[in-house]
């Protein structure tokens, strides 16, 4: 897809309309855009905060909501205690505040129903956010594309979007959720309690009717490196693996 003629994405103000705590460390912020834009599942926005003296901090956040879910976009932000922007959202931002953002951004880590599948999604911690947009897009489009989501977090209480994911899993409509808790025992019979490895990827793959046509891996850098290697060792071609790294 050529995006040489991609629409411009100027800075705009967006108002926080709702704040919802997802886990002890992750909170969702819903924004009403002053200039609504169309986007694809997996894309992100850049957010910038401006201090009274003109100093600005800018960070990227993936869009968690599906493109068809209405004008508001959802960002799910994990608090890093010694960070600059994420603690601002957790400790200062309130409903009614106006925040500057631009988007949609990123044209590689994206999926639409029309791109087909099966899909293998692999997320670590807040790396699940763009994958959640893909899962929600699939649901709202009533897509039949088989999707397996492998989601790694430390403990059960850190499973972002837990109720929503489990209820989607329960539908048995071609979406499969594989949770792995790295610091706690598995809570569901089909889940794991270790880091993602090759054997786990092979078993997750086997839940799909055919081998994946596309795989998306997202999370912190170390997670993405290890998980992408596990996919390759499980026989998945590097050509079909797309990664998004959240940095440190």
């Amino acid at each position: 897809m050529s995006e040489a003629s991609a629409p411009l994405s100027p800075w705009q103000t967006a108002r926080i309309t709702r704040i919802e705590k997802r886990t002890p460390r992750v909170t969702s912020f819903f924004f009403a855009l002053s200039r609504p834009f169309a986007y694809r599942a997996g894309q992100h926005v850049d957010v910038r905060l401006t201090a009274p003296d003109g100093y600005q901090a800018r960070r990227s956040y993936s869009i968690a909501s599906a493109p068809e879910s209405g004008a508001a976009i959802e960002l799910a932000i994990e608090k890093l205690d010694d960070g600059e922007v994420s603690p601002f959202f957790h400790e200062v931002a309130a409903v009614g505040d106006e925040i500057e953002l631009r988007g949609p951004l990123g044209g590689h880590f994206v999926w639409s129903d029309s791109d087909g599948g099966p899909l293998l999604l692999v997320g670590g911690g807040s790396g699940v956010v763009p994958l959640m947009a893909m899962v929600r897009h699939r649901t709202l489009r009533k897509s039949a594309v088989p999707v397996a989501l492998m989601f790694s977090v430390r403990v059960w209480d850190e499973v972002i979007f837990r109720d929503e994911l489990i209820s989607l899993d329960d539908r048995r409509d071609g979406f499969d959720l594989v949770l792995t808790l790295t610091r706690e025992a598995a809570q569901r019979p089909s889940d794991y309690s270790r880091r993602i490895d090759t054997a786990m990827v092979m078993q997750a793959q086997a839940r799909l009717p055919q081998p994946p046509a596309l795989a998306f891996v997202c999370g912190a850098n170390a997670f993405v490196s290890a998980a992408a290697q596990a996919l390759i060792d499980a026989g998945i071609s590097a050509d079909i693996i797309r990664t998004e790294r959240y940095g440190v």
């Binding site: 600005q56 990227s60 590689h108 290697q229 390759i232 990664t243 790294r245």
Partner: protein, 203 residues
């Protein structure tokens, strides 16, 4: 627009401030970004090809390439995801020295850099020559790790870092400025951090 309740706690001191392009922040670590898994390229298998359009001009294997003059370059680098890192120390072969070894001068005004992962990125020839850019082989005196684009990566420090293609295996002169991988996916065709040319449509 001032953001309610946000203060400039991390504002860098003025002497470093002038080294940080607009919208960037100072990073001590070295984050890794790439579009796909990390290719592991063994130096035995590595080669580098200089092309003009489809036509190869010269090809070097690892040993041959390492015979070319090594130059040190210590520069600030700027990633489009908003981090800037000061004083990164590289050693490698200047693009000027590659062209000299091939016995040519830039035949066109544009190049595409190619990586082992299929990645491409476009850079004008004038931004790669006259000592501005190199094919880096060492980072802080050691071979560049696969995560950071080793065995060899392009280093064009004055442009956003996605232009410094990882896992480099060739440079190709093109007649026109042909957008590469990220440039086709919404990123700026040139990518000057001082003019904040992040995304297509930025001035």
């Amino acid at each position: 627009m001032v953001t309610r309740g946000f203060s400039s706690g991390r504002k860098p001191p003025t002497e470093t401030d002038t080294r940080i392009p607009p919208g960037q922040y100072l990073e001590q670590g070295f984050p890794v970004l790439s579009a796909g898994p990390t290719p592991r390229v063994r130096t035995e298998d590595w080669s580098f090809t200089l092309k003009h359009g489809p036509r190869p001009i010269k090809k070097w294997n690892w040993a041959e390439f390492n015979q070319l003059p090594l130059t040190k370059m210590t520069r600030d680098i700027h990633c489009v995801t908003a981090w800037t890192k000061f004083d990164t120390a590289w050693q490698g072969v200047l693009v000027d020295d590659i062209l000299a070894d091939a016995g040519i001068e830039a035949p066109t005004g544009f190049l595409l850099a190619h990586g082992y992962d299929g990645y491409t990125t476009n850079v004008p020839a004038k931004d790669l020559t006259t000592g501005k850019a190199m094919v880096a082989l060492l980072y802080e005196g050691k071979p560049i790790t696969a995560d950071h684009g080793g065995p060899a990566r392009l280093l064009v420090p004055h442009l956003y870092f996605w232009k410094s293609a990882k896992w480099l295996n060739g440079l190709q002169f093109t007649e026109r400025d042909e957008p590469g991988f990220w440039e086709l996916r919404g990123y700026h065709i040139y990518g000057d951090p001082w003019r904040e040319q992040r995304y297509s449509g930025d001035p």
